[in-house]
Subunit: 192 residues, 4 copies
């Protein structure tokens, strides 16, 4: 089974997710700077989520590029990932509009956590299909970032109830760590 | 005529349908758990519809993969299917926001029913084009799931006026039965 | 220059246009039949516009399929067509929500008219690029439907101010006439 | 690494950006001409932004067509460009709904400016990857339009606080200058 349509469908969903998030930037009625100020937290949460969706698209791109084949299980693991990513606009808007209060900030972390776990599940499903000697299996290797991120999200969810801004700092930190695309896969592909 | 653009257009519509459904999860104004509770039925109906659209995308993927050619009739049968799928966001939101009351739950079943019939119509149109000896015709075979699902939806529409939750249980059951992608086609393709 | 990305972008825009129109079917607050009734004209106008966008996608598909190459002029003629098609959701909702009163019904016809003219412009641009002996030029031939439709829209715009339902009947009639995909192109391609 | 998915994702985002802008054309409640009049500035700003997104899609198409390969840096430079383009619907609606007052008109210019700089960054990243002897490097050449546009936007941002309509005139002028697709690249490709 070809992976082309899986990529096309995922691209479509990710493109829509990344774009409808901006709809939460509700156009203010006034035209002065003061009417723009309440949008600042919504804008900041939009930037953060844009970067996260960008990271997912980027790594998804690399992972599928390294994959040789897909089956029904991979299709569903992929849909499962897309489900959690589809909740980004909601979680982003809730956090932004409530100015990073405790529960919405924790909920944002929960969606990040579920998406991260769904991504790992998809990765494992592809590796299971391709075998431990496959390009993807070797490229992923120990996958330290993939293992540490869920722990960081868990910590942030707890921190959100103590000091939400610390949780946000953690979300930003993890995003920065992932901003670099998975060079392991890139270099392995070039080397193969 | 190539089937590539038919797949691309269908992917686009399905990706948008699956993503705009989440827009019905209106961001609550409060930031406590109580303000999240009214969203629960909307969220549950979103999950159900996400799975259904996922099933349609999955099976559509398999069916088109098995098809060798398309003609104008197939294009329109496909648009007819997309029409009913485009009503999913509306039917989902109406059912969820009314907490699974009778009429919206029946209406949801009606949209499921029409989409199922449209899918069968598309399948028959492709088989008519490709002949009874085609890969798709042999792979589909008796198509018991395809024949039973509309009956289940019909039963659920009736049940909705007696006990809506039974209708919902039936929707979930049919979804579970379809969650497994059409392995018949998959195995036939591999065998051919 | 390849036509692949032109098709992909057009598919994307058309898929979104056809899907966001359904967002105008605002989810009613009540859950009885009475709360559904005000949506009927909006639904009817949605069906009509869905068919029209389907016709455009279908014929666009055929036309681009017959085209051999595209240039900058074709890209802009295509964007011009997409612009008028992007106004379908607005025109559809305005007509539906005002229960087919005079001005909105005439405005709907105006958008149909502009889209039809834009389509012809795009067609002429491609033929100018490919030459009078090209597949598309021969397949299009006299193009009676393409010449008569704008006249029908013009008549409907006038009729809308006398009797809006007559204008709507004309919109439906033209849609039915176009429902058949451009068999001329299809048969020419098969014959070539 | 293939550039196909980069193009597909960009097409998706641009198609959505160009289409959701039309959602700001809120359907009026009345059905007479007077109820349509307040929409005129929103419509005009929509036309301007449609043309700008069209220009970006067009030139993006040409640039990627000339590119031979992409890497992680290009992916992120591209996402950065898409980020600023994703703010077009917001900036367009804010300017249109406030009837081209000072601050929203300046803000529109700021988004145009950032998108223009992001586009140049992406272009430089691709050229850095491909070398000064690459097709794109030679085709871009002095890139006068690319260097002058940001200056024009800067001037317009300042002008917006003096006389907003002058700023708008400048936006229209720059758009007209870009309407012609990058013939340099087109002719170089044909010549190569």
């Amino acid at each position: 089974m070809g992976k082309g349509r899986l990529e096309a469908f995922s691209d479509g969903v990710l493109a829509i997710v990344i774009t409808i998030m901006v709809l939460e930037l509700k156009v203010p009625h006034g035209s002065d700077l003061a009417s723009l100020r309440p949008l600042l937290p919504v804008f900041l949460s939009y930037v953060l989520s844009f970067v996260y969706v960008g990271i997912y698209w980027n790594n998804h791109h690399h992972m599928l590029h390294a994959a040789r084949k897909v089956d029904g299980g991979v299709l569903w693991a992929n849909l499962h990932l897309l489900f959690w990513l589809s909740l980004f606009p909601f979680a982003t808007a809730w956090m932004g509009e409530n100015h990073f209060t405790a529960l919405p900030t924790a909920m944002y972390g929960l969606v990040l956590l579920m998406a991260a776990l769904a991504y790992r599940l998809l990765q494992q499903r592809i590796i299971a299909l391709e075998g431990p000697e496959s390009l993807l299996a070797r490229a992923t290797g120990a996958d330290r970032k993939g293992k540490l991120s869920p722990l960081a999200y868990l910590a942030a969810i707890g921190l959100a109830f103590v000091q939400p801004w610390l949780a946000c700092a953690l979300y930003v930190l993890v995003a920065l760590a992932w901003l670099v695309p998975d060079r392991r896969i890139e270099s392995r592909i070039e080397g193969s």
